[in-house]
C-alpha cells in the first residue's frame, strides 16, 4: 500500500493529517505490517498536553508493544474510541484509522516531518538494511 501524498510522516512510522491547527495521528501501513495482528491500543486521555517526541499512546500487537510518539507538540483533543473494541482497524485500514487528534501548539514543527516520498525512501532503505 503506498503512503498517501496528502499526509506527513515520521521516521517512527506515524502519519499525520493536518486540518488547520488540528493534526490527526495514526500508524503507517509499514508499521502495522511489521507489528502484525494488533490486539490493543492504549489511547491517551483527552486534554493531555504532550511535547513532540513524547510517548502519547501504545500499540500492542501479538508480537510486541510499540509506542506512538507525539509527532508535534500540543493537546490531545480527540481519541479514536472505536479502537477500544476493534484494534484490528489499524491493520485493516491504517490510513483511515487515526489514533488521536492533537491541537498543535507549534505548527512550525510540521516542517520537520517527512513527505510521502521521503517516507517511502526511508522504508525502502530499511528494507535493504
Amino acid at each position: 500500500m503506498s503512503s498517501p501524498s496528502d499526509l506527513r510522516y515520521t521516521k517512527e512510522h506515524e502519519w499525520i493529517r493536518v486540518e488547520g491547527r488540528r493534526a490527526a495521528v495514526g500508524i503507517t501501513d509499514h508499521a502495522q505490517e511489521s507489528l502484525g495482528d494488533i490486539v490493543y491500543v492504549e489511547i491517551p486521555t483527552v486534554g493531555a498536553e504532550v511535547a513532540r517526541g513524547e510517548e502519547a499512546s501504545t500499540v500492542e500487537s501479538v508480537k510486541a508493544s510499540s509506542p506512538i510518539f507525539a509527532p508535534v507538540s500540543g493537546k490531545i483533543v480527540e481519541v479514536n474510541a472505536a479502537l477500544d473494541k476493534n484494534p484490528e482497524l489499524l491493520n485493516q485500514k491504517p490510513y483511515e484509522t487515526f489514533v488521536f487528534v492533537m491541537e498543535m501548539s507549534e505548527p512550525s514543527e510540521l516542517d520537520d516531518l517527512l513527505s510521502s516520498a521521503q517516507y517511502e525512501a526511508l522504508v525502502g532503505k530499511e528494507a535493504q538494511a
Binding site: 502484525g36 495482528d37 490486539v39 490493543y40 501479538v62 508493544s65
Partner: protein, 376 residues
C-alpha cells in the same frame, strides 16, 4: 537452518518468516496469528515443527538410562506410549522439557526443543555414562535431520486426517502413538500429542516425504477449513493451555516444581538426576511458583516485565498475551509464594507504568472433551 518444508513456505503469499533459534520458520501465514489460533480451537490447523530435535536411545540399558536422565517415570511406560517430562541438572534446574515415545522395550525417541538439541545430546551422552559404563551404555543418535514433524491440531483433526488413512485413528488415545500408519501413501508415526491444548496429532515422517504429506493434508482438509499455521499461533495457543515454553517458564534456574510440573516429577521412582535437589526444594517449601494472572488494567503482560506486590519486587512475567479465545489479557508469572494465592492482586511494570492484575486459576483454556473421553 531450514526444515524440509522451507521451500513450500514461499508458495504461500503473505507468509512471514522469522528466525527462531537459528531456524527460518513461519511466524504466520496469510490468515495471521489470531485467525490461525481460532481455527485450531474451532477446526484444525497444520504446523511445521520439524525444527524440533529427535534423539533416539537404543540398546540394552536405554530405559534405565532415560529413567535416570528425566524426572518422569520411564520404566513404567508401555510400548506405544508417550510421556511429557522435564530433564534436570543435579541442582534441580531444567536442562530441557521433552516428550519421550517408547518405540520398543529398549528403544525410545526423545523429542526435544530445537534450540536445545545439541546441548541435550551432549548432556545425555555424559550423564548416561553415570548409569552404565560406556561399553554397556545405550546408543544415543541424533536423527533430527532425517525426520520431519508436522502437528495437525484441533477438534476436527481426527475426522479430517481419517480421510487419508485406513487406520482407525480413534483407537490412538491421548499420549499414545501408532507406527507405520499410511497417510495417503506416506508412512508416518502418528501420535496423539501436541502443544495447543487441543485434541490432535503429531506426525513423524521421513524428511523427504514431509512436503507431500503437508500438501496432502491441506488439500484434503483445507477445503473443509484447515489452515497452515505458524509459530505465532503455536505460542498463543500454548499460553492459553498453560503449557510451558523452555526459556520462558523453564530454564537452567527454573525447576519443574516451581513451574508447577510436580505431577511429572516422580520422587518415588528411584534415583534420578536432580532428585536430591528437588526433594530438598519440596521439603523446604518453594520460594517462588508459576501462576496465571489476568489483567485488571488493560495491556499485554510480556516476558521479562517485573511483578510487584505492595511496591516490592516479587517476580517476573514469563509469557503473556491477549487471549484470542477468552478476549482477556493473560500472563504467566513466576512469583514469590506469599503472592501466589488465587485472587491475590499484583502489579506489573509496563515500561514504568504499573498495571494491576489478579492471580487466577490455570489453564486459562481447557478444551471440551468428547463424550468417549469422559470416563478417562
Amino acid at each position: 537452518m531450514r526444515t524440509p518444508l522451507y521451500d513450500l513456505y514461499s508458495t504461500y503469499p503473505g507468509v512471514k518468516i522469522i528466525d527462531f533459534a537459528g531456524w527460518e520458520m513461519p511466524l504466520n501465514f496469510a490468515a495471521g496469528i489470531i485467525a490461525e489460533h481460532r481455527r485450531v480451537r474451532e477446526g484444525a490447523g497444520l504446523f511445521d515443527v520439524s525444527h524440533m530435535g529427535e534423539l533416539f536411545l537404543e540398546g540394552a540399558g536405554s530405559a534405565e538410562t532415560l529413567d535416570w536422565l528425566v524426572t518422569n517415570d520411564v520404566r513404567g511406560m508401555e510400548v506405544g506410549q508417550a510421556i511429557y517430562t522435564p530433564m534436570c541438572t543435579p541442582d534441580g534446574g531444567t536442562i530441557d522439557d521433552l516428550i519421550i515415545y517408547r518405540l520398543g522395550p529398549e528403544r525410545f525417541m526423545v523429542v526435544v526443543n530445537a534450540a536445545n538439541t545439541a546441548k541435550d545430546l551432549a548432556w545425555m551422552n555424559v550423564e548416561s555414562r553415570k548409569v552404565r559404563p560406556a561399553a554397556l551404555a545405550a546408543t544415543i543418535t541424533d536423527r533430527s535431520r532425517e525426520i520431519a514433524l508436522l502437528a495437525f491440531q484441533g477438534p476436527k483433526a481426527e475426522a479430517w486426517l481419517s480421510g487419508l488413512t485406513a487406520t482407525d485413528l480413534s483407537k490412538i488415545r491421548p499420549f499414545r502413538f501408532a507406527s507405520g500408519v499410511l497417510l495417503s501413501g506416506v508412512e508416518a508415526t502418528v501420535a496423539r500429542t501436541g502443544y495447543t491444548g487441543e485434541d490432535g496429532f503429531e506426525l513423524f515422517v521421513a524428511a523427504e516425504e514431509a512436503a507431500r504429506l503437508w500438501r496432502t493434508i491441506l488439500d484434503a482438509s483445507g477445503t473443509l477449513g484447515a489452515l497452515p499455521c505458524g509459530l505465532g499461533a503455536r505460542d498463543s495457543l500454548r499460553i492459553e493451555a498453560r503449557l510451558p515454553l523452555f526459556g520462558q517458564e523453564l530454564d537452567g534456574s527454573i525447576g519443574p516444581l516451581e513451574a508447577g510440573l510436580a505431577s511429572f516429577v516422580k520422587m518415588e521412582k528411584g534415583e534420578f538426576c536432580g532428585r536430591a535437589a528437588l526433594r530438598e526444594q519440596k521439603e523446604r517449601g518453594l520460594r517462588r511458583v508459576l501462576r496465571g494472572c489476568e489483567m485488571i488494567d488493560r495491556g499485554v503482560p510480556r516476558h521479562g516485565y517485573i511483578v510487584y506486590g505492595d511496591n516490592s519486587e516479587i517476580g517476573v512475567v514469563t509469557s503473556g498475551e491477549r487471549s484470542p479465545t477468552l478476549d482477556t489479557f493473560i500472563g504467566l508469572v513466576l512469583v514469590s509464594r506469599e503472592w501466589s494465592e488465587i485472587g491475590t492482586e499484583i502489579d506489573i511494570d509496563f515500561a514504568g507504568k504499573r498495571k494491576r492484575a489478579r492471580i487466577v486459576k490455570t489453564p486459562f483454556y481447557r478444551r471440551r472433551r468428547a463424550e468417549h473421553e469422559q470416563s478417562e
